[in-house]
Every structure is written in C-alpha cells, then in structure tokens.
Symmetry: D2
Subunit: 364 residues, 4 copies
C-alpha cells in the first residue's frame, strides 16, 4: 500500500478506509473517487487559516462534464431523505430529469452566493449562446451547516471563491476531509468533511462506474457504526452536541446509461448508504441526494427536438443500487478519516477520528 495509491491514501497522505484494511465490500475504480467516472471533475476552495480560525468553510464544485461541455445537460434524479437542508435545481430535475452546469456544495448561509456565482460562471462562458437562444439555468447548489467551527453568520464565501472552485475542477485523486465545502464539517461528532468513493460493476454486459462525493456533516457519536460495528460508544470524545445538528449531501455520478426515473432510484439508495453508518436521519439533518449520468449526452442546450435514450433494464439495476449504498457509506468514512482535528470559531475544537483505533475496534 504505497502512500501514492489513491485507492488507499488521500492526496494528503492519510489512510483512507481501504488503507486501514477495513472489511469493505465491492470493487472500487482506480481512484476510488467520483472522478473515476470519465469526464467528472472536482474543484475545491478552502477557507481555513489558523491565523484567523473563525473562518472554517469553503466550496466544492462537482462538474458533471468537462468545462467546455457544461452547457450539455446531464440526466439526473434526486431524493430527499430528510429535508432540513437545501439543494436547488430539484424542481426541474424532478420535472425534466436533467440539470446543466456545475454542482456546488458550501455552507448553509453561503448557498446563495454559490448559486449566484454558478450563474455568473455559466454566463461568462456561454453568454453568446444563452443570449441567442434566450436560455436560463437552474443551478444545483447544496449546503450543510458548519456554524460550530465556522463563523457562518459572517457569510465569508464570496463569488470569487465559488468561481475558483469551478475553474479549478480537475480529474484525478480528490483531496478529502477538511477541504472545500467540507472544511468546517463535523460527522458523528468527529471532524467530517468531503469524502469520495467509487465502484465498478458490470451490468447488462457493460462495465460501468458509480462514483460518489459526500459533504459529511451528520450524526451523533453514539450512533456511529463502521462495517457493522457499533464503534461510537467505544470512541469517547468531547460531546459536540446532544442532538443531530448536521446534514449530508451526496452526489452520485455514473456513466451507466439510465433514464431519469432510474436515477431517482439511485439517489434513493444513498439513504441506505448513510444508514449503514448508524444515523436514523435525524430531524436536524438535510439528507439530500443527487444522482446523474453522463451517458446519453443530448448536446448543448437548448434541448433537441427529439431524444434517444439508451438505458439499462430495471431488472439489472441491483448491482448499481448496491454500488451506491456501498460508495456512500465508504465516502463518509473517507471524509472522516482524511479530516484533521480543527479548532475554529470561538475556540471550539473537534477532534479527528483516529483511524488506527477505529481499525482496531472494527477488527476486534
């Protein structure tokens, strides 16, 4: 397990869940990341400076297509397991089954800026066609609450931060933990943040990839379950809060050709993935999931007169469903394992999960 293997180590060098030898099932892609889905890129703007520790926040951008092709919709579906959160763009995803442009993740009070700046980015890059065709966009921006470690009421994320995340999106291994929109996140009362994982499966004779990126900010320590082991009770730490105060956003990408109604089904399976971690999807959590497919590219907007969609038959989807469940579960683990202990707003401290100790507990 060389540190340079993205399957087992985050770019920071910290061990991922597979680097700890946790008994995870399924076969990940080479990066074990959402970027295993061809064409999908991720950009991160991190606002975290120990000299000004009140600001612990950022922006994550997930680009479903290469920058130059971002005016081409991707087929998509959503599911809200618990709606104490926000994801924009879902009215149209529910109606037509697609969205266009980058997906951004940030903190709860910066969602507006993320939405605004995403529109800005799209106008800056596609204005002639937008004007000529009279197009508008309905950006997908989502959020989780980082107000314990971050001065969230200060609304420190700016348009420039969002544009930088979009501009900086790249393929390859993805930094995890306290980066991007996940910078100030807390998960099962440990430091949480950005996490990713993937699965390769063969369905209906075709090898396809499912990649997941989460912004993990949910759960109470006593609930924490890893690979089926209720480890939370044996991982003591300072109580951060006595009641669920977080959220989890999951973005699921695939190159499997699927109908929008099938992508809704994939999004729904993310609920089972987070459930494996022990959460009952608490009242204060925004557990909102997006699934998209890069297949069946209809070309740049406006929508063509006629559509032709290829899709995997419903009867073959179980392997994809399981891939979503497993990837979401593992991405949450990866977020926690890559995160660093953090002291933030008002001197509040959240400790990182100790991966070695976790591995020992799981193995016992």
């Amino acid at each position: 397990m060389p540190v340079s293997d993205p399957l087992t180590h985050s770019p920071s060098g910290k061990r991922r869940a597979r680097g700890l030898g946790l008994p995870l099932s399924g076969c990940p892609g080479p990066l074990n990341a959402i970027t295993d889905v061809p064409g999908v890129t991720v950009g991160l703007t991190t606002l975290s400076d120990d000299a000004a520790p009140s600001i612990r926040t950022g922006v994550t951008a997930v680009l479903p297509r290469p920058h130059a092709d971002l005016l081409s919709p991707v087929w998509a579906g959503c599911f809200t397991m618990n709606g104490n959160g926000e994801m924009t763009g879902t009215h149209w995803i529910g109606e037509a089954g697609w969205f266009t442009g980058p997906v951004t993740l940030t903190n709860t009070l910066s969602l507006g800026v993320a939405h605004h700046a995403t529109n800005r980015w799209m106008v800056d890059h596609f204005r002639p066609r937008l004007e000529e065709k009279g197009l508008w966009l309905l950006p997908v921006a989502a959020e989780t609450y980082d107000g314990w470690l971050n001065d969230i009421y200060g609304q420190h994320v700016t348009e420039a931060h969002v544009l930088a995340a979009i501009d900086g999106a790249v393929s390859g291994p993805i930094p995890e933990g306290s980066v991007g929109g996940g910078t100030g996140m807390i998960c099962y009362e440990f430091k949480g943040g950005t996490g990713t994982a993937s699965r390769r499966v063969t369905v209906a004779g075709q090898e396809v990839t499912v990649g997941v990126l989460v912004q993990a900010n949910h759960g109470l320590r006593p609930w924490l379950t890893v690979c089926g082991q209720p480890v939370g009770a044996d991982l003591p730490g300072k109580t951060v809060w006595t009641r669920e105060t977080g959220s989890i956003i999951a973005v699921i990408a695939t190159d499997a050709p699927l109908l929008p109604i099938q992508l809704q089904r994939l999004a729904r399976r993310a609920a089972l993935g987070i459930g494996r971690g022990g959460t009952p999807s608490g009242n204060n959590s925004g557990d909102i999931f997006l699934a998209f497919s890069t297949a069946n590219n209809p070309g740049p907007l406006p929508e063509p007169r006629r559509l032709n969609l290829e899709a995997i038959g419903n009867d073959r989807l179980d392997a994809l469903f399981m891939a979503v469940v497993e990837s979401v579960d593992e991405a949450v683990l990866n977020a926690m394992l890559a995160a660093e202990s953090c002291t933030g707003h008002k001197g509040r401290h959240v400790a990182a999960l100790d991966g070695e100790r976790l591995a020992t507990l799981v193995r016992r």
Copy 2:
C-alpha cells in the same frame, strides 16, 4: 352532421359536445375517442336494469395494447390532484414508469374485484410465461363512488363482469354516458359517467394522437362551467348533494414516444382539464390521472436487459399538454351529454344535462 359521425354523436345517437356546436378548440381524431390511439381498445360491462333499479354500476376496461400483446408493458405516469380515491398500480408506475395489462374502472367498493379479476384474466391468458419467468402483475384498477344511484354496499360487480369487460374490449366508437364503470355516476349534479375525446397534434415533425377516457363523477352544479361560461347557476335542478361527493378518473393514452417522466407531466395536465369545468377539485373527490404511451414497446415481460427509448424533446411538449387539457375537458362534457336520466337505488333520481339548453346558454 350525420348521426353516424362518431365525432359528433355517441353510438346511442345522442349529440356529443361537437354535435351541439359548442365552441371547442383543437383538432380531434376521427373517432374523437381514446380509441383513436392505435391499438387501444375499450370494453364495457353495464349493470343497469330498470326492473332492479337498485343496481346501477359496471366496469370499464381500457386495454393499452391488443389482447394478445397485453404482457408488453406500456410506459406510464400518474398524478393525484386530490387523493380521495383509489388507483392501484401507481407505486410501480412511479418507480419504473410502466404498467402491464388492462386498466379497469368501476365503483369504489368493487375495486377489489376488478383487481382480482384482472389478475385472473392475465393468468388465464399468459400462465405459461408467468410461471416460467416467475412474474407477477400489479394491475391498474381505479374507482369512483356511485352510492347514490347504486346499492354500492351490495358489491354487485363480480369477477365475471370484469372478465367480460376485458374480453369485450374493441376499437372503434365508444359508448358514453351511463355505461360501464360510469353507469351510476353523477357529474356536477347531472347524470355523469363514461366520456371520451381525442386530439391530433404535430410535434417535432410527427403527427401523434392523444386520447382520453374519463369516468366523470365529480362537481357541484353551481360550479359547472362549459366553454368558459358559468352555466351551472342557470341550469336549475334538484340538489343532489350539498358537498362534493364524487371523483374523476382520467386515462390518457398517446402514441407519442415519451419518457415516463414526461408521461407524469401529461397526467398532471388533466388537472387543468377538469379545472376548466369549474371544479376546485373538492375534498371528497378522487381526482387521479394516468397517462400511458403505446410507443417504445419493450416486448412481453420480463423487461429486457437494455432499453432504448425515443422521446419528443421536452421543449416540444406544449402541444401535447394542451391536447390533454382540452381532451379531458371535452371528455367530461361528452360523458354528461351522452348520459340518460336515471332512477336508481331508493328511488333516487338524477336528471341528464339537457344538451340543447346547454348549447343555448353557452351561445348567449
């Protein structure tokens, strides 16, 4: 306008809305009926005998494909504008976007028999394949309440009645009014029942048909609006009830190639169609709508490994949406205009709407 023109006259000889010269918009198909959609057939079992006037009920069967091809699903979508009613099969339609087999419409307390008998019919006709492949079916059965004119608590519809409706399904002009499941229905406090209408439109370079069949049993007289005219107040009659006590089921068929998510959109437009008649979709009404497309036939179950769907682009759907709105509105009118005054259970009487008088009021 020869009586034999199905556009203007019901098979019984009564004038339909177009036979009265009402100012209806849009271009219907040759039959102005759901059977204008190639392959769609309708069967009716009517239980109505003046010698035993307590029984005023029946069954309507809409077959989306020819009898021999009923194991091939049709792509579909549903919408519940007001859920005081029942339509089975909708969990699966919402999940996979298709259903298989006949659609049956009957009275509220006979829905179970309709469901049971539809399973029976499918087993009787496709047992070897069902057994070999381990298949089950999730029949679409829907209902409206005819308990004012019919001894509904007597549950007089039998399995044989339902099988006869399915077996008897034919193409061509459809009897309207007090027939089939619509036998005991009441609409805007006039005699209601079964009605149908259709539209032909050209979308994305393709001529397609939208056909609608309703079981119209909703509304209060003061609400009744025809071609925009609030005629209800000027059509006095005996009060049947003081509060909405009905329902309307609409079945929308089309040969336009559409994704399931698009068929949900068509189903939703039926709400606007019934709204034109004046109803606010009252609390006691089950206003439940089903839309299906005969295009993109995947062949008999089980579902194939891979799907290929052609579809009209979303940006071209407005003509189809308007076709649904207009057809639903006109089908309700046709149901009322074809219905005959009826004395039923406990000597209760409901008068038919006087078409000539209605036409005069609309023209004033």
Copy 3:
C-alpha cells in the same frame, strides 16, 4: 368606484379587474390583496429607469409575520405544477411543514442574491438568538425569468435591493404590475408582473381570508382566457415569443388554521387558478406555488417540545380551495391590468393589456 378604492384600483390609479366590471365571482377582502391576511406585509424594490432601459427587474418580499416576529415559523405547503423554475426552502417545507422568515421573488439569475440577503437580514435582526440556539434558516426565494426586457445576465439585483424590499414591507394596498420582482415580466405576451387578490370565506363557522400574490410571467397570447372568454385571439399584438418562455410563482397566505398537509392541498389548487387563464402550464414555465397559514403560531425558533394545532376539518376545505383558484386567477389579471407598456433591454417592447378593450371583449 372611486380611484381610492383598493378593491377596484391599483395604487397607481389603474383599474383592476373588478374596476373594469369583469364578471368575477367570490367575495374579496377589503384590499383584495394578500395583505388582507392580518400580519402579512409586502415590500418592493423596483429597478426601472427609462434612462437606463436595459435594467427592468426588482425584488418582491412577502413577509408572513411582522418584522419583529419573523423568527416564528409559519405552517406551509408547496406544489410544483411545472418545475422549470426555482423556489428554495421547499425540501424543509415538505419535511416539517413550515418555513421561517421572508419570502422573496426576483429574476432567475438574482435568486442567489435574494437567498443570500434574506439570510443576511435574518442574521442582522436575530443574531443573538440564532447564535445561542445554533440555528440556521432555509429561506424561501423564488424567481421568474425577465431576460427579454431586462439584462438578466448582468445580475443587477444587489444585496441592498433585497434588504430594502424586506425592510420596506408594509400592510395596506399593494402596487401591482411592473413593480418589484415583477418589473420585467411578461404575461400572455402582454406586460405582466406583480398581482394580488383575496377572498373571504366562512368555513366551519369561522370567517377566514385567503390572499394571493403572484409574479406573473407566463403564457402565450393565443391561450389567454379571461372570465372564460378566449380573448387572446382577438387581442392582436406583436409576437413576443413563439413558445412559452415564462413562469408564474404564486404565494398563498391565509389565517385559516390548517395542517401542513392541508396547506399542500391549497398550494395544489393554484394550478387550477392559472389554468383558468388558458395556460396548459408550458414546458418552459416554472409554475411553483407556496401556501402558508399564519395561524397556530408556535413562537420563535427553536421549535417547541410539543405542538398543538387547530385545523379546519378536511370536509370543509372546498370553500378555501375555490378561494385559492379564484384569487390566483384574479391576481394574474390584476398583474396584467396594472402593468405599463415597457421598452427594455435591446429596445425590446412589450405592450400592456388594454383593460377597456379586454372588458369589451369579455362582455360581448
């Protein structure tokens, strides 16, 4: 009909639908406005200067409670008739049945700023309690597209504009037409914008008010139907677009005590209201509706340990349903009738609907 009667005239002096004697049914409140619901206020920021005609946009703020009580949730429900648009906050409204704070309406590309500024306003006014309790908000911001008359890609709405709309919210008569978020709107190819109407009804022994505010930006001229008359064809004018390119947002307020699930039902009836105007709810339209009740005030957040809700029985809701249908329909008319002809971005011109001519057509 004195010009000073808010029932019949907009504050600008233009005749409203009732001022033109159109045959509208139902009994409005004294202002015939959403502000007839006690405690509800409206603020408008209008960006429209003939010296810089490229900017025709603005912000409308609807405050469900007095400024000082805006941390107390209102019970609410939503419905998306056609989701080509955005309304934030709906995941939580669907989950818990309430939202907190102002509702803002603006143009499609300024929704982010409206969301951001609403958070800002809430933090500025309630920061101690938000911090102490660790609260976040999920603002309700909605939009319609004004890119034909407005340089929408310029994103000219600022945080200050949104704050001014919220700060400026008042009770009393509401300016209509080309004001606030409705400044650059187009409705049935006439100048559209902000409109309002109300109804008073007695349900279950209680007199209650339903008030509606719309941002009307939808429809094609040939579809336009007023009081049942298909007047669009007889109101010639320059073609603005050949395909639906708008949206309509409706905000429904009531003081009737209702459960969240019942407020979803009210929101759904707005679809029937817009349908009366002739639209089939076109593909390019964001027809998204919000209903809230000021009754059963649970007090400022956080939510209390136990809730006690009084509600009208479902069986009595038809009068409220009809009130919604009628108010939405009339509010759209009022928006068009109050709007002034406008020359905007790139010299494009949209004419106002001629009220006298309309009245003549409806009366013929």
Copy 4:
C-alpha cells in the same frame, strides 16, 4: 429466559432475536410486538396444510383500533422505498393524512380479495352510519409475492379468509414466521414471513411506544447482515433465486401524538431499518411502509368540522426515528427466526434460518 416470555420467544416456542442473545439495541415493550401499542390488534389466517402443499399463503390483519372503533380514522403517512408492489389507500393517506379500518397483508394476487373483503367487513359492521352519511372507505391492503412456495396463480385466498383474519384480531403476543400473509414468504433466501418488534422511548416528557409488523419476503442470501455482521456468505444453502424476487411491507404503529407529515417521516425511516439487514432495496422488491398513530382520535367518520392535534415537536423525533429503524430491523429477524422450513408448490423447499448458528456467527 422462560419460553413463556414473549420478549424472547415466539408463541410457537422458537427463540426470537432477543432469545438468542443477539446484540440488539433499544428498549422493547413488554411483548416486543406491534400489539404493545395500546388498542392495536393482529389477526392471522394461515393456509398451510402439508397434505396440500401447493397452498402456502394467508392473510394478516392489523387493526389500528378496537373492532368497535374501526370507523374512527388513524393519522398516517406512507413511504415507498421501492415500488414493485402494492399498498392501496395511499392516495388518500397522502392527501388527508389518515385512513380508516383494518390493514390487510396477503399475497400479490390476493390483494383484490383482501380489499374487497375489508370493504365487506366494514359494511357489515357499520352499514347504518355509512348509509346515513354517504360514506365510502379506501382500505389499506398490501401484498408480497409468495409464488415460489405457493400456487399464487390459483388465488386461493377467499373473502372468508380475510374476514376471519379481521374478526380474529387480538392483542397480546403475535405468532411469527410462516403465519398469516407471511405463510409462503422467503427472506434472504431463508424462510421468511411475519415478524414484529417494538420500542419504548421517552420523547418530550412522554413515554410512547413504536410497534412494527413486517411481512418479510425480500433479499438475497449473500446480502444478509445481522447486527452488522455480513453473515450471508457463511450461511450456505440452496440458491432460491439469483435476483431479488421479493418485497417487504412494514406497518409501524405508535401512540405518540404526531402530525400526518411527521408520520410520513416515520414511514421513511423503515428504509433504514431494512437497509441494516443488507438489502439495497432491489428492483423486484415492493418496499412499502405505512406509519400510523392512534393518538388524536377524531372519532368515527365523517370527519369533524374542526380538528385539534397535539404533536411531538419535530426536534424531539430522533428517538422515534431510531425506534423505527431498530424495530423494523429486529422484526425482520424475528420473522426469519420463527419461520419453519417449508416444502411447497412443485415440491420446492426453503430452509429456515438456523438461529443458533446465526448467533454463533454474529458473536464470532
């Protein structure tokens, strides 16, 4: 652990999950059954005779109120995790938030009979009031597929069988496993069937009970996970099928006072409960969940003019959510542990799960 302790042993004497000492969390009620919720009763009709082994089916009736009070609605909510199945009554539950009368569970092709007979039972017991008030009912009937062990196409369940289940509903310990609607069920390729469990929790100062009854018929052996242990791979057995071919229905009862929108939230948590068992909610599974509360009894239909609902604040619901997750998971285990190996239709055999062996595997 005396055999007579219903917490640890099924009435048949077989050990339940707690009788095997599995490390289950939470505090069950005294019966560890849905009947721990005061007033809730269960009736079972089992069709299983080794002399005629082709018939392995039955009916389960869950009565949310005592027989004499079955015309009083219960507040309710539903969730469909995967809709390859049927549960009737859900349109109205989604609309008004309540249902009336017994809930019945049976096989897929007998759902119609269950629906029909439930109407029959209600008419037989409440006809005068139904007639006087002009009432209809929308029974809740649900199903799972038992066609591997049972001659399902024979439709062997009769009206009398359903009436007997309803009539026979009692409080107290509930037989589990191959009884009632669960008679022919298969779960993770072991014999499945009827299972139950409960939790007592204190929320907002009130001690309340959550009780669950499942008809467990889902899952593939390799997926099976018990108390976090992936035991499926170590419990070899004959392959029953290579693809998910089942379903699970969960009925969740509580005496906690909850709004309908909150009961939808409880129903949604059942998905996390089944997820703990290892299933990704496969395509061929009807995973449909119903939650109801016996509190806030509005009295017999028709609905009163005004409603008064007490409810637990949303912020206190996490304990109830967790109670649902745990109870559903445990009820599935109890179903499998109580079931007996069975030879049925066409000589097909399904082995029961060996509880002792399972316990050893979980403890390792």
